[in-house]
């Protein structure tokens, strides 16, 4: 299952990178004569109400998916990860910082995103930042916990006894041990970010409407659910497949790193 997921994600990545080379039409090209054309030739996935080619837009949508996914993952991990790690390590600072995280976490994710989005105006960067902030909070929480645990590890005591300083302990001893849980966390953020971005698009507070993203495609064609069903089915399936794949890959990664599976032989 995870392999299929991985293959799909590679396809999405390929589409994202190669979109400008392989799209049959300009995704922004308006063609009022050919509007709402059914799937077929030359419009594989049909056209939308501007007469834009849905297939080309879908390929460009892969690009946005990657942008949003990678962008919010990087933002969330970089800020949330650092806050969580430092908070756990310098516990006094942590008590203060984590309080702030608590406050942010008291806001349900989408509400926080909604308010921030309204505040910042719609743009790709802002969408990434907003979703990044939302997941930075959970990442900080998780990393806080993990770092606290790692801090109690004996090898950290051993490093202290060797005379290692703060930065050495943080970046040489703690951080490398957080890499694989961070990767798992990254895959789930990636998946959730897609759904979150699509929901923001749907509420009209996500990416700018002219950007060809799967969420926008769904949002602007929701009234065509019976008139032109292909406009909802294709982007919808693309989102579901991608989120599903990412979740699968994340699951597989989590299972493979979980020590309890390794302990199976010795543990009975």
């Amino acid at each position: 299952m995870a392999t299929i997921g991985l293959i799909w994600l590679c396809l999405v990545l390929f589409a994202a990178v190669a979109a400008p080379l392989i799209v049959p039409f300009d995704p922004l090209d308006i063609d009022p004569v050919n509007r709402l054309a059914e799937p077929g030739w030359p419009h594989l996935f049909g056209t939308d109400h501007y007469g834009r080619d849905t297939f080309s837009r879908s390929l460009y949508g892969a690009r946005m998916t990657m942008f949003i996914g990678v962008g919010s993952v990087v933002f969330a991990l970089a800020t949330g990860g650092l806050i969580g790690m430092l908070s756990a390590y310098f516990i006094r600072l942590g008590n203060f910082l984590m309080r702030g995280i608590d406050v942010l976490m008291a806001f349900p994710a989408l509400l926080l995103a909604l308010v921030l989005m309204t505040l910042l105006e719609r743009s790709v960067t802002n969408t990434i930042i907003v979703i990044g902030i939302v997941y930075a909070t959970t990442t900080a929480r998780i990393l806080f916990g993990m770092t606290l645990k790692l801090k109690r590890e004996v090898f950290i005591d051993a490093a202290i006894c060797s005379g290692a300083g703060h930065s050495s302990i943080l970046f040489r001893h703690i951080l490398p041990n957080l890499i694989s849980p961070l990767l798992v966390q990254a895959s789930f953020i990636f998946a959730f970010a897609q759904l979150q971005a699509a929901a923001l698009d749907f509420l009209g507070l996500g990416l700018p409407p002219e950007v060809p993203s799967w969420g926008n495609m769904l949002s602007e064609s929701r009234i065509y659910v019976t008139r032109a069903p292909w406009l909802l089915i294709f982007p919808g399936l693309l989102i579901i497949l991608s989120v599903f794949s990412m979740n699968m890959v994340g699951d597989a990664m989590r299972d493979s790193m979980d020590p309890r599976f390794k302990d199976d032989i010795a543990g009975v």
Binding site: M1, R99, G100, D102, V103, L104, A106, F107, P108, A109, L110, L111, L114, V115, L116, T118, L119, E121, A191, L195, A198, A199, F202, L203, L205, G215, L218, R222, V225, T226, L232, G236, I239, I240, L241, V243, F244, N247, M248, D251, R260, G267
Partner: protein
């Protein structure tokens, strides 16, 4: 127990205060003038400025905050700019829908999530498990609004089994039967969350299954089903209970979307609409109420946690 609850409630105060500042700041940084929206398209800037002044929107922001906070502490969140009625009344109007929706959704989540999760864990590794956990993963990957649109199309428009949208109060004509309006929305809302609960129940049961005391229970010669329910599930419930706090937060988030799709007169849609209308007092009020509610739910979850797990001491 009471003392603990009181203590916890007290500890919420600083968080709430910080949250209130954030809410206030966020809301006031949003571009757009409520006076302009209120007056409509043909109003002139002079009209807008005058109304703005009348509404006190021209005062320094911190003055506005303290006035608002002072009133909020007395349970007065101000008057809706848009509806011209007290914010509390506006929120109360949406509360019925949202609470009923949440309850009904919880019923689905519990009715679907727990049995399927238990089944999946006890049949670990079989096709039943793969179907259940794969299906759960799939449902967790579907955008809520997309699912909602199709549920309306299939069950309301084509089959005509359920109403498509809206929700007349249960105090209206029709009484409790009006709950049928919430069936599709609650299913939409339940789908991803039930999926998460399935996965969680499954995962925590698998975790508990590895624990030593389960081996002890099996060594007593108990029937596997009894071991699964009384020992594995009962203990797994502890971590599942903790997840209900998160589920609730997710529910609020997704309710915003679901209520919009189904045009439910709930609090979630109220937020979106109020943001679009720049109805500051309502946005502030609703968000603050939701934050409070969320914190209280978390407190209840903690209490439930202590009730489920005798190792957790409230003292």
């Amino acid at each position: 127990m009471l003392a603990y609850t009181f203590k916890r409630l007290l500890a919420l105060v600083p968080t709430l205060l910080a949250a209130s500042v954030l809410v206030f700041l966020f809301v006031h940084l949003i571009p757009g003038d409520p006076a302009a929206i209120l007056l409509g398209d043909s109003a002139t800037p002079e009209d807008v400025a005058r109304l703005s002044r009348e509404m006190g929107l021209d005062r320094p922001i911190y003055v506005q905050y303290f006035i608002w906070l002072g009133n909020a502490l007395q349970g007065d969140f101000g008057t809706s700019v848009f509806f011209r009625t007290p914010v509390m009344e506006v929120i109360a109007g949406g509360a019925e829908t949202s609470i009923l929706l949440a309850l009904l959704t919880m019923v689905w989540i519990i009715l679907l999530g727990i049995p399927i999760g238990v089944l999946s864990a006890t049949r670990h590794g079989t096709w039943v498990d793969q179907l259940a956990s794969g299906g759960a993963m799939l449902f967790a990957s579907v955008p809520t609004f997309w699912l909602g649109l199709y549920l309306i199309l299939i069950f309301a428009v084509w089959l005509g089994w359920f109403p498509s949208s809206g929700f007349p109060s249960i105090h209206d004509e029709g009484g409790l039967l009006n709950l049928r309006y919430l069936l599709l929305p609650s299913m939409t809302l339940a789908a991803p969350n039930a999926a998460l609960i399935i996965r969680l129940v499954r995962a925590s049961m698998l975790d508990v299954q590895r624990e030593d005391h389960v081996r002890t229970a099996r060594a007593k010669g108990l029937h596997p089903a009894r071991v699964a329910i009384k020992h594995v599930f009962r203990n797994a419930l502890i971590s599942v209970a903790a997840a209900f706090g998160f589920t609730f937060a997710a529910l609020i988030s997704e309710a915003v979307v679901t209520e919009t799709v189904f045009s439910l007169p709930g609090v979630g849609r109220l937020v979106v609409q109020s943001i679009l209308r720049r109805d500051y007092p309502v946005i502030q009020g609703v968000i603050l109420v939701i934050v409070c509610l969320y914190m209280v739910i978390n407190l209840i979850v903690d209490l439930a946690y202590a009730w489920l797990d005798p190792r957790v001491s409230l003292k």
